[in-house]
């Protein structure tokens, strides 16, 4: 552990001239990303089922609040973004949240336009579609990895 000057690290990367790809590191990172994504998908499925069950079963209390907010923020978005396998957790998380909020918002607007205000039905619909897409991600064949997942940071243009 060394104390370094404040501007030691590169704001832009050093020039790469024929640096050999570090495929082992890339493979390890890709495997790790896949493991994390699978865990997130399993958690999202549980959240999905729990939130819908809590709403339909008229559960009350803070558990329902947490399940409802978790569903709103993560479930519909991850059902879409998880398929993309972006391998950048921060980007996946931010897109998941923004897309979840957007999809629910668009759904609520459609209900307003259609004069058919049924928020519980909307949650059940989103829950069913998301569960199907998330299960599809879980059952998706993970190997062999795509070129993207095996690309080392050194290889990136």
């Amino acid at each position: 552990m060394t104390l370094t000057p404040l501007d030691h690290e590169s704001w832009s990367p050093p020039p790469r001239r024929g640096a050999p790809p570090s495929s082992r590191r890339a493979r390890r990172e890709a495997s790790e990303a896949i493991r994390w994504r699978q865990r997130a998908v399993v958690a999202a499925i549980l959240l999905d089922l729990g939130a819908v069950a809590a709403t339909v079963g008229h559960l009350t209390g803070p558990v329902r609040v947490l399940l409802g907010l978790g569903f709103l923020l993560f479930v519909p978005g991850l059902a879409v973004v998880g398929w993309l396998r972006l391998n950048w957790p921060a980007a996946e998380l931010s897109l998941t949240v923004a897309l979840s909020l957007s999809l629910v918002l668009l759904g609520s607007q459609i209900m307003l336009w259609a004069h058919w205000w049924q928020p519980v039905s909307l949650q059940v619909l989103f829950g069913a579609l998301s569960a199907a897409l998330l299960l599809g991600q879980l059952l998706r064949k993970q190997a062999p990895h795509s070129d993207l997942e095996l690309s080392a940071p050194e290889e990136r243009p």
Partner: protein, 652 residues
């Protein structure tokens, strides 16, 4: 000459780095970890003792006490110390920023039992209307034309079984702040690979964000989406510069000139998404961005236009090839204005276009027009101005350091400058300057981080990219001056540097706390006011006229469209009785609600004399036959009897 300067700077810096590494003592990252833990523990221990009802004119920090302040200093010191180590664990800086956001930025949500800010209750009322009627809001307000966020809140209230939505309103600021971290991390990751620079930029963003647009509001939701879209566009659709092959001669010339002046050459963001993604993945990402843009268009009046300007600017300088997205967003915005929000602007076109071109008026409404109030409030306002000035100065220094090093990221300054365009178009209720700062803040924070972590820079490939001879000379002189300063600080011992920088960051954090929560005395909502309003909605018949003195009454959480609400003092400054007579219906009479926080609001924010509300209430009782029908916990409700309007209004 200049072409040799940049490598010389790089070589010097590397030599200095090696020298410093050899000389510095070996230390573990236990020090920043221990400081952060200590700071967090001290803050958590102090929280139960913070009583917002005892605060003074400088806001929540006056009630926080020395223990809390000491905790903030320790937490900030831990973050700064971690920045000085180049191999801290990945998680440490992230955890420190999250702790800062939760324990310092989110202080209001932690210690105040009810949702902050009266406007939160208005938004909850809009959502309650949609949830109970199942239809869009009637045109009672400009916000009714953009109901997306309110319909979303109504859906969530149903999902979590919350009849009032107060639980969402209380925790929304903290939630929105936490949600902003991931998109900010993506955005900073597009600009730099240095994770210390990235986390420092995020820290600066939160420390300097006194604007308080993170409450339960359409703009908070839209801002989270805005950050995500900008980050995704740059990370996935960022590209090599294009001089507009399809563009005409003049536009092509402008684009080429802009790209040359900003030193834009071949560039790809150094992110995992920069590599060519499969076409299907890119298509889904583009569709996601469009969906997010559509949701934003239905939710907020301002944010989509800033996004359009940003994407157009990025396309112009060759930083994205998604110029068509800007056109698509323009179409969506026009379509929404024409169909979704037409009920609003068809009767109020002046509100949309009235302040266009009045730059001086828009600026004065947002700055000098707000510099009023008691000394404590003025101190808070000046601390806000100090933060803005300091941030802009630091960002300018960062830009200079990047420029000297021929760095690739000069285009960040374009995104920081684009929101200024808003000032020329709209006053936005006197808030346009504040909103401009808010939209520029992420990019100013990134440039400010570059002042400390400018990186190695880049060697210009050609003489044309190096600039003209004059530019080279200026760049060389500034570069040498900056390097001398850097070396002067480099000669300080590591401990002195740590203490000095930690002192600066801790002061900035505390100043940010004063600026953020400085007006809390009038922004917090008391239990007494909520009880009075619950009584009001239970006992007062719908369609009545309801008046209050100052703007900070947490009403409209129910019956958003069932009562005629009016604030007196903010619009008829100092002549509330005259305003009341103008508005009072002779047949129906009205109800007047007064509370302690309104008295504070009048004194602090409007500069009224102490006791002004009691005087107003006495005048009401005398002149308007007001009857006190409710009084408890510092809140009072009067019934104003119907009367014949007088032809000669009396002033106070």
């Amino acid at each position: 000459m200049t072409t040799t300067l940049a490598p010389a700077l790089i070589a010097d810096e590397l030599a200095w780095t090696r020298h410093d590494c050899v000389k510095s003592r070996q230390r573990g990252w236990w020090l920043p970890l221990a400081l952060s833990f200590a700071g967090g523990a001290v803050i958590i221990a102090a929280l139960p003792w913070i009583d917002p009802t005892t605060e003074g004119t400088t806001g929540l920090i006056s009630a926080a006490g020395p223990q809390y302040v000491a905790g903030v200093v320790l937490l900030s010191s831990g973050f700064v110390t971690a920045l000085l180590f180049d191999d801290v664990p990945r998680w440490l800086l992230g955890c420190q920023v999250v702790a800062f956001v939760v324990l310092v930025v989110g202080l209001g949500a932690l210690v105040e039992p009810a949702p902050r800010l009266a406007i939160t209750y208005t938004h909850l009322g809009f959502a309650q209307y949609i949830g109970s009627h199942g239809t869009a809001l009637p045109p009672i307000d400009a916000r009714a034309g953009w109901p997306g966020a309110f319909s979303l809140i109504a859906v969530v209230e149903s999902w979590i079984n919350s009849s009032t939505g107060f639980v969402i309103g209380r925790w929304a600021p903290l939630l929105f702040d936490l949600l902003a971290i991931a998109p900010l991390f993506v955005l900073t990751g597009v600009v730099t690979e240095d994770r210390r620079a990235r986390w420092l930029a995020i820290w600066i963003f939160f420390a300097a964000n006194w604007v308080e647009q993170d409450y339960l509001s359409p703009q908070a939701l839209a801002f989270t989406m805005y950050l995500t879209v900008i980050g995704t566009v740059l990370a996935v659709f960022g590209s090599r510069p294009s001089v507009g092959r399809k563009a005409s001669g003049a536009i092509r010339s402008i684009m080429a000139s802009a790209q040359r002046r900003l030193s834009i050459h071949s560039w790809h963001p150094h992110t995992p998404l920069a590599r060519a993604l499969p076409a299907a993945t890119r298509a889904v990402l583009l569709a996601s961005v469009v969906a997010i843009g559509a949701a934003m268009t239905m939710s907020h009046q301002l944010t989509p236009y800033v996004l359009i300007l940003d994407i157009a600017a990025l396309a112009l300088i060759g930083r994205t090839r998604l110029g068509t997205l800007a056109w698509l967003l323009v179409l969506m915005a026009i379509a929404w204005l024409s169909f979704g929000a037409s009920s609003f602007w068809s009767g109020h076109l002046g509100l949309l276009t009235g302040s266009a071109g009045n730059v001086a008026g828009n600026v004065s409404a947002g700055v000098s027009g707000r510099l009023r109030g008691d000394p404590g409030h003025l101190l808070v306002l000046w601390s806000r101005i100090a933060i803005v000035v300091a941030l802009m100065a630091t960002a300018a220094l960062g830009l200079l350091r990047l420029w000297v090093r021929h760095a690739e990221q000069l285009w960040v300054a374009v995104l920081a400058g684009v929101p200024i365009v808003l000032i020329g178009f709209q006053s936005y209720g006197g808030e346009v300057v504040i909103r401009t700062y808010f939209f520029a803040l992420p990019f100013l924070a990134i440039l400010s981080a570059a002042a400390i972590f400018p990186g190695r820079g880049r060697v210009p490939r050609t003489a044309r990219h190096a600039g003209t001879r004059t530019t080279q000379s200026v760049r060389q002189r500034i570069g040498i001056g900056l390097e001398r300063c850097t070396r002067a600080t480099g000669r300080l011992s590591p401990s002195v540097r740590v203490v000095a920088i930690a002192g600066i960051v801790a002061s900035a954090s505390l100043l940010g706390l004063v600026a953020h929560y400085g007006a809390d005395q009038s922004e917090q909502v008391g239990v007494g006011e909520l009880t009075a309003l619950t009584w009001f909605y239970a006992h007062v018949p719908p369609q009545s006229d309801a008046f209050t003195a100052c703007v900070n009454l947490p009403w409209r959480s129910e019956g958003a469209a069932s009562f005629r609400y009016k604030t007196l003092v903010s619009e008829s400054y100092g002549r509330p009785l005259k305003e009341l007579r103008r508005l009072l219906s002779p047949e129906r009479g009205a109800y007047f609600i007064a509370s302690k926080s309104q008295e504070v609001c009048g004194e602090q924010q409007l500069g009224l004399a102490p006791g002004w509300l009691a005087s107003l209430e006495a005048s009401l009782s005398k002149a308007e036959h007001a009857t006190l029908i409710y009084s408890a916990d510092g809140a009072r409700i009067y019934r104003l009897a119907p009367h014949e309007p007088t032809t000669r209004p009396r002033s106070q």
